[in-house]
Amino acid sequence: MAKEVSPGVLALRKVVDDVHADARKAKAEGKLVGWSSSKFPCELAAAFDLDVMYPENQAAGIAANRDGEIMCQAAEDLGFDNDICGYARISLAYAAGKRAARKFDPETLEYIIDPNSGKPLKDENGKVVMGEDGKPVKDPKTQQPYTVLVDIHEIEAMPDGPLKDKYWESIKPYRQMRIPQPDFLLCCNNICNCMTKWYENIARMCNIPLIMIDIPYNNTVEVHDSNVAYVRAQFDAAIKQLEELTGKKFDEKKFEQACANANRTASAWLRVCDYLQYKPAPYSGFDLFNHMADIVTARAKVQAAEAFELLEKDLEQAIKEGTTTTPFPEKYRVMFEGIPCWPKLPDLFKPLKANGVNVTAVVYAPAFGFVYEDLDGMARAYYKAPNSVCIEQGVAWREGICKDNKVDGVLVHYNRSCKPWSGYMAEMQRRFTADLGIPCAGFDGDQADPRNFNAAQYETRVQGLVEAMEQNAANKEG
């Protein structure tokens, strides 16, 4: 599905590329580079001009690049159970120095191509060329070397020379496999408590400081003053730790600018998300998944705000022209509940496309579209992550976007990696159906480990959902 890429999307890609390039440059210059959980208040790090990378995005990127399994396996070989979150396993393996690399011959230093890789070769008429064995011939241009695991500490210990250089070069070149090792850690466990132990482990592996902002679970929709006071005090403590780490004073102006940028980005993000309310939608929720990296990585940067505003203009134009980037006519609209199965995006998309099902609502929209006015507001905003809120808030968020974005059903990902996210999903499904009169279908999957996804089960569940939505539509008409 060759898509024309809009200026807004291109601008967003550049923003993230730049963030990564800046971090690599900072590391090369001997400056500090941090790793941060996705919903740590990035405004604090921005006040110190710190370069920060995001292991959750990194893991999603590695998984989408089909290296989730080899990295998860590497973590398991280090002793981390395969029950642990796939993002955490990928990140822990990376922190330990493990990298997915391209296999080469140590004698010739030539890459060794995996004959099973690559796409079928097509002739000038676009027809697949068949080989003598009756199988499609692979296009050599698309073939890749075998993937193997290497260890940067072992490479570092090698004597200098062409072999060592080749090992460094063999590490997969995509940006998520090339992020610098951390000098400090910023952990906020509003996403999950697994984060706490995940970052403690990295701190131990790399012997680096960890700055921790703890968000205890909340049982009420409102965030009480006691909780706000606790988080505010932690902001102050984190600032002190960052001052010690950097040897710089907290720059209030830079902080205020970062807050203003973060609010502007979040507002633009929300407006972009709201374009999914149009029927038919000018794009698919799957595109929104792809912009997760942008909102997480660059929320406090003005370039991110500008790029989302540009995307907003693209979408406005699309509405005027009646175009959409969804490569099929939209027959049904669903909410996709949970994190996508990054290694299996094509498999996720296939039965949706076949049945005209467009994803027009994702929970990430409210999860990252938070705007605040002051420090108390900021503390309250960071208190509300998808996995730190009570069931009433969780249901209200989702039912809000289900109504606004006019969905006909809900597709629920029981994510083997994410216990907190899947934790009250069964009850939520019952409420969606009771409150909104829409069918729900659940499937088993994983955000990063491809071994936990079964395409056949998924297709059957999508089919079941489509039939239920069909029946619902017929009932309404009848």
Binding site: G79, F80, K197, P209, I213, D214, Q234, P420, G423, A426
Partner: protein, 378 residues
């Protein structure tokens, strides 16, 4: 009373929490269910009510809880919900739902929703940044909420003095349990793994003053015995719960004694005392802050391997030759800490095995083989 008879009494209690609940209710007491981890039971006691620990069950099968939980959830939490749904815990007057791990966070919602108006739930979220004044303050705020809810259930307001008294009762109980653990090591020929587990488990189902009285009596009798001439091996156990009678029987079949434990349901729950003077709410918050070397709690000195080394030292100091880790299935915190526990044990030259366990386990063939092989190595 003979040692055997005393331990038999503890065993009866440990094996029949239902009867305990019924007896308390028949005596006109109110009973509060207390889920893992770290709930300030002292407040329940101070309110004149009975706290009853709910750490799942080795006897039940998950059925009704499936309506709420995906398959990959810790069986302790699922079976606690099962008992709330199948009528086992209908007589409870309240339920405290702590939320320190990723399973208990959303499960707190399932508990609240599933039992509806039947039993009031008391929500509790501990702080991980628990040391500074503001961390203590947040913990006290949470505990004050718990206190108010308990007052509502009991129908009267507990005083600070009530809480101070409760702290004294609990400190005495913790001290008695710590002493028992030492005595059980010295007299491991008499205090078998099964009996050791029963004595410690009974504490979750009894009023602590009554428990301490009985346990002190037992401790005194144990002290009179000559030290065991133990020919078998000794291990330290580690994990969340190690009370499965079939697994403990395998220990005994292989002449394995338990020298000490690093188990959430056992020693981790009574390592830390609270101050008996001053503001009792602050004392309880400080007690929580002082809990250390725990897989569930944030360690600000995380760049060193303090917890792993603590457990390795425990093995050495207790005279054990190895460690048996009961890895609770689907328990992220335990799983996350394993590689560094292993590192510390390996560096200290301490052999260990990791056994995957859950409360739905009914076949112990594999565990038996692993434990037997381990005993042979030791």
């Amino acid at each position: 009373m003979s040692i055997e008879l005393m331990m038999k009494q503890f065993q009866d209690i440990a094996n029949n929490p239902n009867k305990q609940l019924a007896d308390f209710k028949a005596a006109g007491k109110k009973v509060i269910g207390v889920l893992p981890y770290y709930a300030p039971e002292e407040l329940v006691y101070a309110a004149g009510m009975v706290p009853m620990g709910m750490w799942g069950s080795n006897k039940k099968t998950i059925s009704r809880a499936k309506e709420y939980c995906a398959t990959f959830y810790c069986t302790i939490a699922q079976l606690a919900l099962e008992m709330l749904l199948d009528g086992t815990m209908d007589q409870l007057d309240g339920l405290i739902t702590p939320t320190i791990c990723d399973t208990l966070r959303p499960m707190s919602q399932n508990f609240r929703v599933a039992i509806g108006d039947k039993i009031p739930t008391i929500f509790l979220a501990h702080p991980q940044n628990r040391f500074a004044d503001w961390g203590l303050k947040f913990c006290m705020d949470q505990y004050n909420d718990v206190r108010k809810m308990l007052d509502k259930i009991s129908g009267h307001e507990m005083t600070d003095e009530d809480i101070r008294k409760a702290i004294k009762v609990y400190n005495a109980s913790r001290a008695a349990r710590r002493e028992f653990v030492k005595l059980a090591n010295e007299h491991c020929d008499v205090v078998t793994p099964t009996l050791r587990s029963a004595v410690l488990k009974a504490s979750w189902f009894m009023l602590k003053d009554e428990y301490t009285e009985k346990l002190t009596e037992l401790n005194e009798e144990l002290k009179k015995l000559p030290a065991a001439n133990w020919k078998g091996v000794k291990v330290v156990t580690s994990g969340i719960v190690c009370d499965n009678p079939k697994l403990l029987a395998i220990f005994e079949e292989n002449h394995i004694a338990i020298a000490a434990d690093d188990v959430a349901h056992e020693s981790r729950a009574f390592r830390t005392d609270a101050a008996e003077e001053g503001d009792p709410m602050l004392a309880l918050a400080k007690q929580f802050a002082n809990i250390d070397y725990d897989v569930l709690l944030y360690d600000p000195a995380s760049s060193s391997n303090r917890r792993g080394e603590f457990v390795a030292n425990l093995v050495k100091e207790s005279g054990a030759q190895g460690l048996i880790l009961f890895m609770q299935q689907f328990c992220d915190p335990e799983e996350m800490e394993y590689p560094y526990l292993k590192k510390a044990l390996d560096e200290a030259g301490i052999p260990h095995i990791k056994l995957g366990v859950d409360q739905q386990m009914r076949d112990f063939g594999q565990a038996s083989t692993a434990i037997q092989a381990f005993a042979d190595v030791l």
